[in-house]
Symmetry: C2
Subunit: 238 residues, 2 copies
């Protein structure tokens, strides 16, 4: 069985930049020239028609040298996943993504494909669902999936768009405080907060943090700590 291969992006668009503009090199390095066709999963997208969302993402992938078609146009979505050479899962609303993955039977299909070595990439919500659960999403639970359990491709929780900033003159917890609440309620479950522009690349048990910024790690009963970009954080896999 081939090693699992993942590219998990915190976000699709760095502030003031174009769609996946910051991630072009990382995507090309990950998919390489061996892949030509990518299967797109638009289920996180709520207010834009999936055809339109697909067209926008396909244009960016075409610039990078890949043809992208969407699973929502496939007659048999499960078969499309089984036959995919690579899978790309869009950001949007994580609850909407997970519910639709369950509704279409794709949770098991994508998990099996990724574990068998099909390259899986996702940004924001699409990175979030790679963890054991979506309990560290920032999104609003606008719909109710049958469970918050997700793909569990990695054993640690992911918090995309991690930031230490807050809204000026507004009450409410910081992101760090929310994740400390998660670890208090879920001892033993580590969380990695991926700042904007950051990515995780996983090859087998090797996990590398890409981008310019450190990531912040949270685990019950110890203070959060930072890991530097470029570092191997494979210890999270155990």
């Amino acid at each position: 069985m081939a090693d699992m291969r993942l590219l998990l992006l915190s976000n699709s668009r760095n502030y003031g930049k174009g769609y996946l503009e910051h991630a072009g090199e990382a995507i090309r390095d990950f998919l390489s020239a061996k892949v030509r066709d990518v299967l797109f999963v638009p289920y996180a997208v709520v207010r834009v028609p999936w055809d339109d969302a697909t067209a926008m993402v396909a244009q960016r992938f075409r610039e990078l040298g890949y043809e992208l078609r969407s699973v929502h146009t496939a007659a048999d979505p499960v078969a499309a996943v089984r036959g995919a050479r690579a899978i790309a899962v869009s950001g949007g609303n994580t609850f909407h993504l997970l519910k639709t993955l369950y509704d279409t039977g794709l949770v098991d299909a994508i998990r099996a494909a990724a574990r068998a070595g099909t390259p899986y990439m996702g940004w924001s919500a699409g990175a979030n669902v790679a963890g054991p659960t979506i309990r560290t999403t920032n999104d609003m639970p606008i719909v109710e999936p049958p469970t918050l359990d997700a793909l569990a491709l990695v054993p640690f929780q992911i918090n995309p768009h991690y930031t230490d900033a807050t809204i000026p003159s507004h009450g409410g917890e910081t992101r760090g405080e929310r994740l400390l609440e998660f670890t208090a309620a879920n001892p033993g479950k580590p969380v990695i907060g991926l700042r904007e522009g950051s990515m995780l690349r996983l090859e087998g048990n090797r996990v590398t943090l890409l981008g310019d910024q450190p990531a912040r790690l949270f685990l019950a009963k110890r203070d959060p700590w930072e890991v530097e970009a470029g570092g191997d954080i494979g210890f999270l896999m155990t």
Copy 2:
């Protein structure tokens, strides 16, 4: 059967102010001199021991002329709710609150008590659970309740801490965009965004917006609109 009576606060603490400082007059007017003892529900609180959270809230209620004891110290929580003269539900994490309400059997007990006329007040998470579901919470789903269905004391969704502001130089949706996603995914379900300092007071079918700020209303297929403080928004009850 007595009219239902609710006081639903967006938040516990206005920026730079003390705990429930902004709401003292509204609480006294709501509970009146007829109530002396208030049953407190601290289940939304995650990182502070419930004894400590209770002590802090009890001090504030004592200043206002009420004795507060917490349901978490009751031998039989359901009996405590049935015997309560008034119920006050704390803010914190809405998922943690709802899960614990289900774990303790208090969802049915509180719903029945409030519908029979026991005054119910809640702030932030405690206001959120008064709606049909918690699908418009801002909180992180750190734990998984059996369902997102909540007390359904009112037929409309509540979004506490509503704000039009965003984190500077950070991607991600505005609160308004998140609520538009909710209405897109849930046509026919209205949402009221309660800004910091705002409160809803319900007496039977009369619903009044208290505080200094307008609230923002969201419903599928129309633009969000504002209702002014002081206005009757009983139309939301139909």
